[in-house]
């Protein structure tokens, strides 16, 4: 459809990473952002699954964009997304069973993740295959990186570890009962709870706004 003002590849890619980052700028997909970022591993799995679904749905929607009937398009998007989410879910169940148990209902819930339907509507149904793929890669990576960042911060603060590997000096159990000083990093469990998700996300958003204000 759009020919003369079709978007360029590189700006589209970069937009997803920073300027239009799905979490930090568009504030889309808050449910997985808050719910599954208590450690990096589940954040990474969630991010990659979403990126995979986003890429596939963008490709399919872009391919059939000229055939779409306006009043049936949401139905088509949902059908496409649901198919690929089911594939992702089956894949995790077959090859990463531990992760699949941990993420539980959040993988099927990718179906209603607004990032994917937003990109299908705003980008893929209006642009060619190439731009749609680039857009999906940019957005998918932007989402994954943000989730991993949140996951890393929360995992470090709540356990002192990243990917389950202790990176900060571990503290001896029940040290406080002896009344002494802490002999290592004090894990703050609240960061593994939803509280930690909101606080961390809020602080990151504030930081992003600060940087944007400075560079603007």
């Amino acid at each position: 459809m759009a020919n003369s003002d079709s978007p360029k590849a590189l700006p589209t890619l970069l937009a997803g990473l920073w300027k239009e980052n799905p979490v930090l700028a568009l504030l889309l997909g808050m449910c997985p952002t808050l719910a599954v970022t208590s450690d990096v591993k589940s954040a990474l799995t969630m991010g990659l699954s979403t990126a995979f679904v986003l890429l596939c749905s963008n490709i399919v929607v872009s391919l059939m964009r000229n055939l779409l009937k306006p009043h049936l398009r949401i139905l088509m998007f949902t059908l496409t997304i649901a198919t690929f989410v089911t594939i992702a879910d089956l894949y995790l169940k077959a090859f990463l069973p531990a992760m699949s148990d941990k993420l539980g209902p959040y993988i099927p819930l990718i179906i209603v993740n607004c990032i994917i339907i937003c990109r299908a509507e705003a980008c893929a149904s209006k642009n060619g295959l190439f731009i749609s793929i680039i857009d999906a890669i940019g957005m998918g990576f932007g989402f994954t990186i943000t989730l991993c960042m949140l996951g890393a911060i929360r995992e470090i603060l709540s356990t002192g570890a990243v990917f389950g590997k202790q990176i900060l000096p571990a503290i001896s159990e029940n040290w406080y009962l002896t009344g002494g000083m802490p002999d290592g990093f004090i894990p703050m469990f609240a960061f593994a709870l939803p509280v930690g998700a909101f606080v961390t996300l809020g602080l990151i958003l504030g930081l992003v706004n600060m940087i944007n204000k400075k560079t603007a």
Binding site: Y176, G179, P182, I186, M188, F189, V195, V199, L203, G206
Partner: protein
């Protein structure tokens, strides 16, 4: 400000030079009796806890002002007040490291991220305490009974077990013991009526009411001595630092709630006076719920706020999972403050502008 110039300013015209600093100073003065009581009961420990909180709160505020390149706001003493209330509402034996974490969270997340004093939707001290509870649940629920107990005074606890008898000559600073509210909860949770009745009869009689009133019981630093808190409350009421609306509505609603339960099932629910004087109800009514930033503006809304706090506290104490509910009650009602303000809007004198 030079005095020989006339200023034209919109109302309200305040005749007394009331500054934030003065109000905060008044509240801190009102907290002094409780502070002294804490120092008497918990000795050095009280000093350590309060000093740690005050220093870390003030330093945090100063640092954040510095980072944000704002004029330092530590002069208004609000950080000191937050620190004292936080110190008063945590178990006395809480390690210093936890206190610092709580203080930093109170000031940084509870107040400064919202833009400093006056913009925070939640009471910073309670937010800090909630964070500590979420992080260190175990340490936050281990209570200590003051060790320098007058042996004559009966204790809240198992029958015949005054602290002095049990731990005589061990030279301890304090002993971990269930608080009065924990016993209240035990009675409610007891499996049979007879069990509950025994707990109530053995632990709560009139002479023990005195122990709760004066403060010879386990609990937070600032909460053990009800007398000192009432003294502080009266001082603030006399100085008009706070109005009577919130303290009265909190205490009255809590009392009525407790009385209803006690009236129908006296063998399970303790005398409402116990509920009044134990735990954080008094410090909440006088010092926490009255925080001018986080409670509503109009008298009607304040009354509703107070009733909400009082009823929530008693609800959590009687049917909730926790023995004490001050923190959650205050935080929940803080969240309702903007709604209450809208609900009870005052019509400006002269009618609503632009209302044709």
């Amino acid at each position: 400000m030079s005095k020989d110039k006339l200023f034209v300013s919109p109302g309200p015209h305040i005749s007394k030079p009331i500054s934030t600093r003065m109000v905060m100073l008044d509240v801190i003065i009102a907290l002094l009796p409780a502070l002294l009581a804490a120092a008497y009961f918990f000795r050095l420990r009280a000093v350590i806890v309060v000093a740690t909180c005050v220093i870390s709160c003030v330093v945090t505020e100063w640092l954040i002002c510095k980072i944000r390149k704002q004029p330092s706001s530590i002069g208004d003493l609000s950080a000191v007040l937050t620190a004292i209330i936080l110190a008063f509402s945590v178990p006395p034996m809480l390690p210093v490291a936890f206190l610092i974490i709580g203080s930093v969270f109170s000031i940084a997340i509870g107040k400064m991220v919202f833009g400093g004093l006056g913009n925070n939707p939640f009471n910073p001290a309670m937010l800090g305490r909630a964070f500590l509870t979420a992080c260190f649940g175990m340490a936050m629920t281990t209570w200590t009974v003051p060790a320098n107990i007058n042996p004559e005074l009966p204790q809240i606890g198992p029958k015949g077990a005054t602290v002095a008898e049990k731990y005589q000559g061990q030279g301890l600073e304090g002993i971990t013991e269930a608080t009065p509210l924990a016993w209240t909860k035990n009675a409610i949770k007891a499996k049979t009526l007879a069990q509950a009745e025994t707990i109530i009869k053995e632990n709560f009689n009139n002479s023990q009411l005195k122990a709760v009133l004066i403060g010879y019981t386990g609990g937070c630093l600032g909460e053990t001595s009800s007398l000192a808190l009432i003294l502080g409350g009266i001082y603030m009421l006399l100085r008009r630092t706070i109005t009577w609306v919130i303290p009265v509505s909190v205490l009255a609603s809590a009392f009525i709630f407790a009385e209803i339960f006690h009236f129908f099932k006296p063998e399970v629910y303790v005398n409402p006076l116990f509920q009044m004087f134990s735990g954080g109800l008094l410090i909440c009514a006088f010092f926490i719920a009255t925080d001018p930033v986080t409670n509503p503006m109009t008298t009607k809304a304040q009354a509703l706020f107070g009733i909400g706090v009082g009823v929530l506290i008693m609800l959590i104490r009687t049917v909730g999972a926790y023995p004490e509910g001050v923190m959650y009650a205050v935080l929940v009602m803080n969240a309702f403050t903007p709604l209450l303000d809208r609900l009870c809007k005052k019509t400006p004198i002269g009618g609503v502008p632009n209302a044709a």
